[in-house]
Subunit: 314 residues, 2 copies
Amino acid sequence: MGPGVEFDTIRGLLARWGPLAQQLGDDAALLAPTAGYRVVSTDACVEQVHFWRSWLTPQEVGARAAAAALSDLAAMGASAESVLVSFVVPDDWRHDLGAVADGIAGPVRDAGAVIVGGNLSRGATFSVTLTVIGQAERPVTRAGARVGDVVVVTGVLGGPGRALGALLAGRSPEPWARARFAGPVPRLAEGQWLAAAGATAMLDISDGLAADARHLEAAGNVALVIDDARIPCGPGCTAADALASGEEYELLATLPADALERLRAQWPAGHPVPFTVIGEVRAAAHHEAAHREAAHPGARDTTRPAGHDHFGTP
Amino acid sequence: MGPGVEFDTIRGLLARWGPLAQQLGDDAALLAPTAGYRVVSTDACVEQVHFWRSWLTPQEVGARAAAAALSDLAAMGASAESVLVSFVVPDDWRHDLGAVADGIAGPVRDAGAVIVGGNLSRGATFSVTLTVIGQAERPVTRAGARVGDVVVVTGVLGGPGRALGALLAGRSPEPWARARFAGPVPRLAEGQWLAAAGATAMLDISDGLAADARHLEAAGNVALVIDDARIPCGPGCTAADALASGEEYELLATLPADALERLRAQWPAGHPVPFTVIGEVRAAAHHEAAHREAAHPGARDTTRPAGHDHFGTP
């Protein structure tokens, strides 16, 4: 890199990232050949769309953006390998860019990945777009759910939605809910355990359990029947709260019932993130029946209020 | 994908892209194992930074962004394979998004690549960030220039700088200059020919020949001595114009003098894009001498006005 304000800024980022950043400065990064599949995804975090500046520290902005992007690898059952970071930086964010970079470093380091490329531009609105590359021996898509499979979710739901509700109302979220909103954790190990156990379909909950269950239904041409009473809800959250809460970055997966034993064997004793069986997969032709069943307490299908829609919500 | 305005918009993009778009709708795309290196880069195009809306049609915005991103693969001597497209779309751009997508499709299709992922977000400022993935048998970095190598450039320089000068002055650029600014072409085949011929270092000219030559100098710890009289200049352009003109997306490479015969053999007869030998690589210790030589007509070194700097120019 030569002289100039842009290059000085990039050098500052590289100094902060240290050995976490590799290969930057060339036109493109090299990825050595691998025996298995590579998995790739891109995700943007935009000020005033995905967050308001008063809600998060600059470090949290970076950590949250990185976690959200890495979560797409978790959803495929992949491990994380390489990250590219593209910043658009207004003048009033320039002094916070280092803190954002520090925030990004956390989840990238925790995932065992490195930063191999990026882009830096001025712009009127702050955004950071992360492209993540991983590897999967047995990638799991959204499309493979089979009738008779069980439906499993990781973690405890409702926190991000509860925090967002408080923030939008001008209140301070409870600490646990705020932590879930500001510092989500990509479930990379859990996704690999689910894949190894035989998960047939998987995604990460970004739009809300209800909306994301519909994505699995559409991709697999099946119906997911979820038992409200079994949804793991955070303190003070109802099942309805948990179903609507987006940006959870927990995993929703289907797997054969006889794979549950393998999954329990994979899951380390005392692991702080639980998995919970919350329902089952039925034939799409039974969808109407599932609708009726939804009228009964304790069982509902997911053809109901949509979760997060980038074009429809602030 | 489920219902919702965002998903409807994505479905509209997929309908426009047709078979050019593959795998979209899952959390991440799969890339099958390859024998050689994969090459990956990300590049952003931001309204009011990289262009003003009055300068370009929406289709040109898309085509130019895709060409700029793919050019980073050309600079490594790679072929193009997969593209991910992340849009940030203000309300007043929503009706033009389809035309931007059509513009992106052109260079992606010409490059033989497919679109395998993306992201769509609202936002106050329009931007499109493209991540490009390619393959290279023999990737060429910026760092390998050796003393005695010749310096080669593709194409004819000066057009984008000339167009930008006119646009910033409120004048209409000449058609040839505007075409070079609005519709750059990534030199993918040319980059592979240069790599196959034995290029030791290479990059694409995005900051201007002078500034980018300094990048090769810094990466290779050498001096590039460029002969002004040999720089291929567009109509009405001086060597100084050509040295300062950014966003050319032509290739600047070094290669052993005895590789020129191989390069001529690679280059098809009648190929519309020429390559020109414009200088030679000297030891960095000779840099001072190069400086002196620059005072003589017909020889200058490149430690001179910097080209494009995203943080420093509009």
